[in-house]
Symmetry: C2
Subunit: 183 residues, 2 copies
């Protein structure tokens, strides 16, 4: 892994920014990589989709924004409609199969997973949806090790909520592991 550019997108309140910060921290604090994590808000953001950019790299990163991501995660149809076009050819598109219907063909590996339905069936709390999404991504790819994310969760999540977050992460890991691929 030299450099991975990711965009997480969804709607406000789904926690994509938090998931991005946790991933960046896992990469930097636990794995000793470099990372940036950013949000650009503007005319586009106001209408609808929330978007957060992450870059993870073995080398120094000069520009924190992502133009063309290797990995695009879309949790809503609106986010997909808005951002599907920017994915890098040969990249990975991860969507929630409940919310997103992929219309046009993109030159990317598409994996649709029942992230939301799984969280709601197994845990019943939409608040950890973002952590299941992150688990799925780490299950599919090898950006960082699952233990690195778990170490950050342990640091950041209040004790009362930790077990639920670990469980949400594990659910995602299991869903994603079926589609494992190296970047």
């Amino acid at each position: 892994m030299k450099r991975v550019r990711l965009v997480f997108s969804g709607s406000g309140g789904q926690g994509v920014i938090t998931a991005a910060i946790i991933l960046a921290e896992a990469a930097v604090i636990i794995e000793g990589l470099n990372a940036t994590q950013s949000q650009s808000y503007g005319a586009a953001a106001r209408g609808g989709a929330t978007r957060t950019d992450i870059i993870i790299s073995e080398e120094e990163i000069n520009f924190p924004g992502v133009t063309s991501p290797n990995i695009l995660v879309c949790l809503t149809q609106e986010a997909y409609n808005q951002y599907a076009a920017v994915i890098r050819p040969g990249g990975l598109l991860l969507t929630d199969s409940r919310s997103v219907t992929t219309a046009k063909k993109t030159d990317a590996k598409h994996i649709g997973l029942p992230l939301y339905d799984t969280v709601m069936e197994r845990i019943g709390k939409p608040i950890v949806y973002n952590i299941t999404m992150l688990g799925a991504l780490i299950g599919i790819t090898d950006i960082v090790r699952p233990e690195s994310v778990l170490a950050i969760l342990k640091e950041r999540i209040p004790p009362d909520f930790l077990a639920m977050n670990q469980r949400a992460f594990d659910l995602g890991l299991v869903l994603g592991a079926q589609y494992q691929c190296r970047l």
Copy 2:
């Protein structure tokens, strides 16, 4: 206000990233401005100080990182030591007077406020320290209106914690208002 570049710095767990996101959202969602908010993690970040960059502008923003902030907030001595040098001449330096001793003279207006002590005396919960810091900043400057931040707090903070956050914000506003200045 054409364009304001801010850096919030402190140690991990003080919530500077959350404060930055709340400020950016207030600017964009409530006030119709443009904003970016980013973190760069790397060799520098691992040792110690957490740093988050925000740009707020009436115009579109192309690059989310901040090289030289108009406003630098330092909640720890370590953050001050690391970042004081980058402040823009004529800018504003806001520090917590309990934690930060300003050593060298910078060409900036320096305001030291007892943010932490006030939070602990009045509320007793360090978790809202970041919100008091944000309140102080909005009290001093006119980046966004206090009501815009309160509207975002109402959206983001679970009902059980909202009153405490509003109170923390008000404490900061009152502390900051003594030093009001226009940018």
